[in-house]
């Protein structure tokens, strides 16, 4: 390591206070060129706030003390936790990228600018692991899958050519294959001498990428140091817990469940966007008390499948039967019982909340509307459920904009749970959670499934670790349902070539191999 290079940015004794409550307190951070500095820690511990401080941005109404220095003048690349929000809904992907490419080709003769800019844009797309860039360029952000949106934002950051890139959960929405490539790309970025600040829950990614790690908890940095040291000899109790829970829960045993009548039966499902077919699922069944994981690469149609089940994607053919009765295609035509029976937790939690009303009220409405509870009971129940998910009352009374990414995800889950659903579809609900919280949450879900009140779970996930919780796994590739079977078998002896590659990639990342080219 080259220690002679001075930091390009530095935070000294940063304290961000809102309503007298410190959400970041006494944080020190040095960002060096060519190095990857990672912030890990519990959900809501202040990572995003610290990251934004590097950009000179603070939550509205915050009182800030301490110092933030950026020696590198110019721009800072930023990949936010919720990429959808920063993608202008009225502009095509190409416009969004060209805006950034344009200043960089300003030096060229006028005639060459267009092609040069286009080249840059296409390169950035492929750097961000978006194949088929040409086609994507013509789309609007809402026509992309969650992971694709995230990579478009990453492409923007790469295109910017900044000396610092702050990446907030850049891999949450990505499957293992893509994730490993994104990690590789970030490593390459660092190798170019750019300082990368990585905010992530994904310890595999952190381990693979980071030079320096800061562990945060409740706004404070509890421990920091080189990645190797931290992993081998964590000093703080919290760090140890965070790293510990890595491996857990063996594959579930799904025997016996298959025998029962399927709760949800999907027959000959094909879903289209416009004229493109993005999903083909000839047969898929979910039994009472069963947990089904849906895995697949980003953009493979997982969300589309989930939305079909939830009645949010009308453009589909085929049948979805609940208890043998066909569910109306659109949730507008579903009865309250049907609505309550199938609940969906959105991939983008932030976008699924009404930004003008406190979270608690919004969560409680489910019980009022779908179960006929009165306001008071509903609120109490909501607050209890949120509490079980680790969200205090104080948090629950805030507006969605004032919650961290992981906190919102849990609130969204609580909102669905309050319907006492029979089928709960969770779209990447653990992506924004630290290992500790994730574990707790998954345990809670597992408990609900096991409780025998016939809750069945559909877990849409990239995280094989999470998928391990399921009884069965279904694998999607480019819209095709390529394989499904008991978790144990799929994990141990995948049959389809695609599944095999997915497993390998995961193993690769987990092995913690360093992507970074060492200087």
């Amino acid at each position: 390591m080259n220690h002679t290079t001075g930091p390009v940015a530095e935070i000294r004794d940063l304290r961000v206070e809102i309503d007298g409550r410190a959400i970041v307190d006494g944080v020190n951070l040095r960002v060096r060129p060519g190095k990857v500095t990672a912030l890990v820690g519990a959900s809501g511990s202040g990572k995003t706030t610290t990251g934004l401080a590097l950009l000179g941005e603070y939550p509205p109404g915050a009182r800030v003390t301490g110092e933030v220095h950026r020696s590198a003048d110019g721009l800072v690349g930023y990949v936010p936790q919720h990429p959808a929000a920063v993608l202008n809904p009225a502009r095509r992907v190409s416009a969004l990228l060209h805006d950034i490419a344009r200043p960089q080709v300003r030096g060229l003769p006028r005639a060459e600018r267009r092609t040069a800019a286009r080249e840059l844009v296409l390169r950035s797309l492929s750097d961000a692991q978006l194949a088929d860039g040409e086609a994507l360029l013509r789309r609007y952000p809402h026509q992309l899958s969650g992971g694709q949106q995230q990579r478009v934002v990453l492409a923007q950051a790469l295109l910017l050519g900044a000396r610092i890139v702050v990446a907030d959960e850049p891999t949450t929405g990505q499957d293992a294959l893509t994730k490993s490539r994104v990690v590789g790309q970030l490593a390459a970025v660092a190798a170019r001498g750019i300082a990368v600040v990585l905010l992530s829950h994904d310890l595999d990614v952190v381990r693979a990428l980071a030079d320096e790690v800061l562990v945060m908890r409740a706004g404070r940095v509890v421990e920091s140091g080189p990645v190797e040291r931290l992993w081998t000899a964590p000093r703080h109790e919290w760090t140890r817990r965070l790293l510990d829970v890595q491996r857990a829960a063996a594959p579930r045993d799904g025997t016996g469940i298959e025998a029962a009548q399927p709760l949800l039966n999907v027959l000959n499902l094909t879903a289209v966007h416009g004229r493109t077919t993005v999903l083909r699922a000839p047969h898929l069944a979910l039994h009472p008390g069963e947990c089904l994981a849906v895995v697949g690469r980003s953009g493979s149609g997982k969300t589309t499948l989930a939305r079909c089940l939830a009645g949010l994607h009308r453009d589909h053919d085929g049948e979805i039967l609940l208890d043998g009765v066909a569910l109306p295609r659109s949730l507008r035509h579903r009865s309250r019982t049907q609505l309550a029976a199938v609940q969906y937790v959105f991939q983008d939690a932030r976008a699924s909340f009404d930004e003008h009303r406190p979270v608690l009220g919004q969560v409680a409405r489910t019980a009022v509307r779908l179960r006929g509870a009165d306001d008071r009971t509903a609120t109490e129940e909501a607050s209890a459920t949120l509490g079980r998910l680790g969200l205090s009352d104080d948090l629950a009374h805030r507006l969605p904009g004032e919650l961290s990414g992981g906190e919102l995800q849990r609130a969204a889950l609580a909102r669905a749970l309050l319907a006492r659903p029979r089928v709960l579809i969770c779209d990447e609900i653990t992506s924004g959670l630290d290992t500790v919280t994730r574990r707790a949450l998954l345990d809670l879900l597992a408990g609900l499934v096991g409780d025998g009140d016939d809750l069945s779970l559909v877990l849409v996930t990239h995280d094989l670790d999470t998928a391990r919780l399921a009884h069965r796994i279904a694998v999607l590739d480019a819209g095709e349902l390529v394989e499904q079977g008991p978790t144990g078998r799929i994990l141990a002896e995948p049959q389809h070539a695609f599944t095999v590659s997915l497993m390998n990639a995961t193993a690769h990342l987990e092995a913690g191999s360093r992507f970074r080219a060492r200087t």
Binding site: E57, A85, V86, P89, I100, L160, G274, R275, S330
Partner: protein
Amino acid sequence: MSKSPRASGLRSFVARRLLLGAAQTVAVVLLVFALTEALPGDAAVALAGDQPDPARIAAIREAMDLDRPAYERLADWAAGLLHGDFGTSLASGRPVAQYITDGFGPSLLLAALTLALLVPLGFGLGVLAARHEGRLVDRLVSGVTLAVYAVPEFALGVLLVTVFALKLAWLPPTAVGYGTDLLGHPAALVLPVLVLLSRPVCSLSRLVRAGMVDALASPYAAHARRYGVPGARVRYTHALPNALAPAAQQLARTVDWLLCGVIVVEALFVIPGLGTVLLNAVAERDVPVVQGLAVVFGVLTVVLNLGADVVAHRLTPRAGVAA
């Protein structure tokens, strides 16, 4: 591949709306016809004026064919329309098409000029106010445009004429005697266009401001700024499109209003436009002329509304994909 469905969706959307538009135009004509027919008095009474000798009115009625049932006259007129014949005026016996073409020129000119200024001004002021939301500039822009909006056109017109035409003698006070050749006297157009601008500028800029305040505060605008996209570009190409849909509707209405009935301005400045023709025709109960104009306005409205809807459709690509 992914473009074609959208594009063809748009095409079929436009085609369907144009078809619907034909039906709408028919409805407009029927509505206007029914209302004009239901008005007290008819062309004969109007022509008789303050000499309402009943025998004479009856004679005029007969001479104008008004003694035939209304539906027959409508049917005849409609049959003529299919051949592109708008019919002839009851009051003068001249072809209605001539009325329309004569009135259209000045109206179109005024509308075009006003629009050419309105769009940059309305959007510019709206954006400016939104940019400085809550600050002096915003208050100034909002206050002034609102105050101007609350002043009726004739009052503003009288004021401008008094100051610029009569006191300072910079501009001619009216377009009297210029006939349809308004382009030959550009100075005569300044005041009418200013008066015409006064109200739409306010309504447009208020709507733009409202949309822009939200759009400028959005994360995507912040992101663009963060990435060094120049301020003007953020405002006009990032935020504005998201604020535009209601403003486009307003703009379509304004064009409509400009072409159809800026009666006050036409009267005040003696510009023989469509509004004047329309009012006269109604006063004279000249049903064929009123119907002819109804066709023109109907078609115009359909096209403009369609335009506004297409703009909205393009600017909010996500709309309509909800479950």
